[in-house]
Structure formats: structure tokens, C-alpha cells
Amino acid sequence: MADRYVELKSVSKSYGGVPALTTVDFRCEPGRVHAILGENGAGKSTLMKLLAGVIQPDAGTISIGGKTVRFSSPREAAEQGTVCMFQELSLMPHLSVGDNIVLAAPRTRMGMIERSVYREAREALDLVGAKSIPLGARVSGLSLSERQLVEIAKAVFRKPKLLILDEATSALTSELVETVFGVLKMLKEQGVAILFISHRMHEVDAIADRISVFRNGRHIETFDVGARTTDEIVGLMIGRSLEELFPPRRAPVPDTAPVVLDVSNVSWGSQLVDVSLAARAGEIVGLGGLDAQGQQQIMHAVFGVLRGVTGRITLNGKRLNGLQPPRVKQSDIGLALVPEDRKTEGLIPSMSVAQNMRLAVLGRAPLGLLDLNGGSEARLQELIERLALTYGSLDDPVATLSGGNQQKVVLAKWLVLSPKCLLLMDPTRGIDLPTKAQIYRLLTDLAADGMAVILQSTDYEELIHLCDRVYVFYHGSVAKELTGDHLSADALIAASMNVHLHAEAQA
């Protein structure tokens, strides 16, 4: 068991002449959690895909326990005990949770799947903290974080020897991350080798034993956790030292600033209960809380996606109730929403970068024609530069861009409309640090120009460092509004779980 280490020797891989990995030597050992860090495009995903059998190396060898292996499909890799949990979830949406898990490693008797396998699937779900997800539920009805839990349960269910987690916890709240880490520690003690990719430094600190940094397709350095400071690690990742991730704090927005978005007593079924909130011009307002407490729904309610919303929603005095997205994006209202899942809701992956960026403008020009005076084209060009979008050609499918650049395209597509109020749903999920920093600076600039920014986020750091105020949601209503000095990690977590800090101190 102890010699089941995984080793890569001078492995190279390129896509159409563009090198993704260049002569990489890498080694990870059983019973350890090995974090892989690097910017988007550093080669992490390529490394994972090589190990998982999705792609094959152009040169070099991969060996397990000293024996050279060559996997031609994820199936072969899984048979050798390598299980990968990719960022793009590998769940079948129309199948039940149970079927999804069981299909990963079905045990059959006379061709029939044994019923006991479903019991094991249940146990795997319970283990990762997904007790509330029924086996019979269709995956298409689950939230993003629930899907991630199912995905993790599915990986655990397969009893891996090498487990690869690629941004596996990106949509999970810190509470659930704790549970998942507990499982990872248990697996680690059982001698499983774990490769862990995450952009959240504190998660890496919490779980990893060793860290390897990748940059531009090369393995830069490997060291034990604690051997280097966060700043040093970030420096290694981007090849230079990063100024602050977050822009400097802005002066508080005066109470005299006009209220842009005003939501009062909004309810929707049982998922939103009497929600009231407001955002002034120039403010960045955060929406926090545990997963699916109504933060996402209130965004959808404002943007006109939901039917049967009661209460009052106004933007600069205009009533929005009953208006749908094609209406609320018009310039007289000026609302924009950056959705949670950029692959399915934010972009049309097969269309080009340029086409995606023009999509939001389309419905606005007279008679549906493209903007004739070219005003928006000029603005697009300006936005591309402002966002520092990295691309090959604007005619390439948007799917060929890295995650961070895809998100920039989503932002550009809405910003070209010069919205008065921008709603963002977890805009930095699964995005590398430098891009995150760029997006943060952009949001701050937009607010300084007088835009009202509503930022829903699962990342507490973001809420604390970027927002003027944070509304914490709990069970469909606003549990607490935090401002100024009260806006701290402890306060956020306490409010998310609807407990009071002093009450906790007493207990």
C-alpha cells in the first residue's frame, strides 16, 4: 500500500501546438493530501485529466507504484483506483441521485443491480453531509451545492486509491466544507492519495499536507504546508508579487445618496419570506448566508424570472413587479444580472466570444437591429481592454476560454448596456486569484461611478472586504444586516446560522 505512489516523469502535453504541460515531474504519495495551485491555464486541469485518463500524454510516463500505466479512458483509470471529481460536474441530470451514484460502480447479480448497492450509496451521501438529499430525487432538481455533495459522495462511493478533487468545494458553504474535509481526512488515514485543487487559500491551508505550484504548464515548486507564507505562494503562482487581492476600502456611501434598488416585503412561496433590502447609488451590497437560503431567489425575483412574487420591487422609483428580463434590461430601467452558472445561464458556449458579448445588446437596439451608430461596439472594445480579457481571436467559441476569461465575457456583455444596478451571483466561483482581483477592482470602480452593485457570494472574504453592507439570509428571509465594524467573519458565520454571538458565549 505504502508504495502506491503516483509519479509523472517529464510529461508533456500540448493542444494544437499550444503547450499545456511542459516536461513535468510530479509525485504524490498515499495517505497525504496534496494541493495543486496555479492560475487558470497553469496546467492543473491538464494534469488532472492525464491522471484520470481523459487525455494521454504526448511524451513522458505516468506510473503508479513504479509500474508505468497508460489509461485510454476514465473507465480504465477508475478500474485502477483513480477517481476524479471534475469542476464540470459529471452527473446525469435526468437520473435520480441514487442511480447517478450507483452507475459509477454498479455491482450486479445475474445482470441485475443489487439493491444493497443503493444502501451503500445512501451511506456515502450521509458521510459527506448530504443526509437531506433523498436517493430518489432527480439531480436536475438539486442546487449547485447539493450537486457537488452528490458528486463527492459518488467519488467516495467508488472507494478510490487516488482521489482527485478539482474545485470540488467551490459552491459549498464553509459548514459543508468542514464535513467534506472530515471525510477527506478519514480517507487519508485509510491510505488514499488525494490531489486537491482549490482557489481558496484557507481551504488549502486547512486540508493539505503538501503544496505544488504550477505556472505556465510547468511544475514550479513543491513544499510542505506552512513552509511558505500565503504571499510567497501567490508570488510563485503568478511569478511576481501580488498587491492586495482586494482594492483599498472605499469611503462609506453617505445616507444622502439616492436609493437605486428598493425591495420591500417581497415573498415567493416558502422560499422568500417578507424580504426587504435596499441599495444606494455607489454601494456594493452583499448577500450572504448558508447555501439556498433565498439569496439566489431574491436575485431572480428582482430580475423578473420568478412568477407570483408578492411585495414591491422598485428601481429608481420604477416598479419592477411583473416585468421580465427583456424589459428590465432596457435603458430606462437598467438592470443586469450575472448568473450563477456561467456555462448554462451566462454564456452560449458554442458561439464566439464576440457574439456572446453582443447578445445582451441585441434586444435593445431599435427593431432588433444591431446598434447602428456603433456606440456599443466602441464600448465593447473599451471593456475588453478594461477587463484585460485574454483571448486568441474574438471569433473563437467562448468555450475555449479559461473560466476566468469566460466570466469576464459575461461581465462585458452586461456592462456594455451601462446598467444602473448590477446583480452578481457568486461571480468569482472557481476563478483564479489574479482574475478575482481584477473583478474586485472592476466592481469597486463601477460603484465609484455610481452604480448600485448587489453581490451574492459564498466567499466570506469577499463579503467582508468588498461590501459596504451585507444582508445575511436565513430560511428565506433577511436574518441580519451587517455594516461597518460589525462586518466580520465571526459575525457573518453566526448570522448565517441564525445564532447570536453573545448567546454563543454563554453556552
Binding site: M92, H94, L95, M112, R138, K154, G269
Partner: protein, 320 residues
Amino acid sequence: MMTWLRQNARETIAALALVILFAGYIAIHPRGFSTYVVTIWSNQGTLLGLAAIAQFFVVLVKGIDLSVGSIIALTNVMGSFLLNGSPTSIALGMVVVLAVGVACGLVNGIAVVYGGVQPIVTTLATGGIFGGIALLLRPTPGGSIDETMSDALTYAVAGIPVSAVILVIVLVVLLVLLRRTAVGLGLYAIGSSEQSAYMTGLRVNRLKLVAYGSSGFVAALAGTYVSMVTLTGDPNIAPSYTLNSIAAVVLGGVALSGGVGSPIGAVIGALILKTISSLMFFSGLPPLAQPFFEGLILATAIALGALGVFRVRSRLELYR
């Protein structure tokens, strides 16, 4: 029970529509509810029902099969040569007919999986080929089929049409295979998301071939049953079966986008179509007006199936 109904809403609504249409049909039929009437209805329904199941397998894995009717015609024509003589030669003939069906399905599957050709284009071409072979074999309807066997399979026993029994047996076997085996679940999996299925370690290509092969097999069953009902081999029956099989799966709640639906839904859809056209025959409407009303009833049935749209409370769901 409620969750089951909700998850199978489409099938339930379709079944309800079928019951109403069937009651209407019996009400206006001059002979009313009798073994004779039900047997004729059941035999006709079984023919289209099997065709719809054949279509279901391909649609399940995100394809569409324009050659279903041609495979039925070809196997029907082969049957008119092979399904007579001694019991042994009939049995052998049966094996050959079914094997031809599977082979046709596999040809489609191989072209789609390994040739990378779109299913609609592939089956348009192969449909022409299969239908063409049928025409070459038997330019005009004819041939002979063992009548004892035909009688045994198309009459009723104790008031229950044999065809209905056959259809139920086929459905039960398929349901068990689809829901309880790794291969069956795998078909749903690749229909739902091929990429996810591949990442999960399923043999996507092989499973697709299974789907197309099964489709061919069931189409051959349909072709054989056509032989039993009509006692001839007719190369010209292809187009109506192809189009009606597609209409049937849609009516029965099978998603053309793949991964959703059941053979039961496909069969219910087929029975609805058959009942509508029988209803027209006995309706007393002028023949030239019948297609209009047939279309109207079909449109209503489809609209019923889409009623769920009004219950959606997040508009985002409409575009999933």
C-alpha cells in the same frame, strides 16, 4: 404516490387521454365493447406500439430514427418468405428475421457512433437502403405466412387479445432491463448527459450500439407482427410507421432531447394515435374532413401534455 405521479406526470396525463379517447371510440363503435372490437384495436395498437418502442430506444440516447418504418417493412417482407413451412423452418425464419432487424439497427448505430454522422442523416440514408432492399425482394405485396401461427397470435384467449398479452410481456421485460440493470440505466445516463456518462466511466459507444441494436430488434418484432396481422409482406408500409412512431414517443412523454421517458409512455402514445384514427373511421365525418379533426385531437393531446408549463414558478425552468 404523489411524487411518483409528479415524476411520471407526462405518462399519467397521456394515459388519461387514452382512456377518454378509448371510451369515446367504444361509445360510437356500432358493435360497442366486444372481444372482436377490442382485439382489432389491440392488434393495430400493438403494431404501432412496437414501432414506438423501437423509436424510443433511439430517442432515449438523443437520436431520432427515420429508418424504423423501413426496418419494419424489410423484416415484414423477409417474414413473408421465411415464416412458413415446418415448425423448425418457421423458428429458423424467426431467428433470421430478428437478426436482420438487429443488424439494421447496428448499421445505424455504427454509422452514428464510429462514423460521427448525425442520427437524422444516417437513418434517412439507411432507411432508403433498407426500404429499397424490401422493394427489390418483393416489388408488390404478397408472399405467404403460416396461418395457424397468425391465428394464435392475433386472436383472443378468454376475451383477452393475444396481442395485448405480447405487448405487456415486452413492456415488463424492457422495464426490468431498463430500470434494474447497469446497461439499462446506462442508456438513460448517456441520453441525459453523454459527457457526464463518459466521465463516470460508462462505455458510451458500446451503450449507444446497444440502444440502436435494441431498436432494430423491436422493429423486427413489429415487422413480424405486421406479417401475422396482414398475412402478406408489403414493402410500402415504411413511411407511416416512421412518422407515427415519432409522434407516438412525443405524445407519450419521451423527450426528444434524450434521457427522459419510458417504453410505457411510447406505447400509450401509440395507442392514442391508433385510437384517434379508429375514432375518425367510425365518426361519420366526411372522409375529407377527417384529417383535420385527427390533427385537432392530436394537437389537444399534445397541449394537455404541456400543461405543466403553467405550474412553473421560476421562468428559468422553462428553458432548461
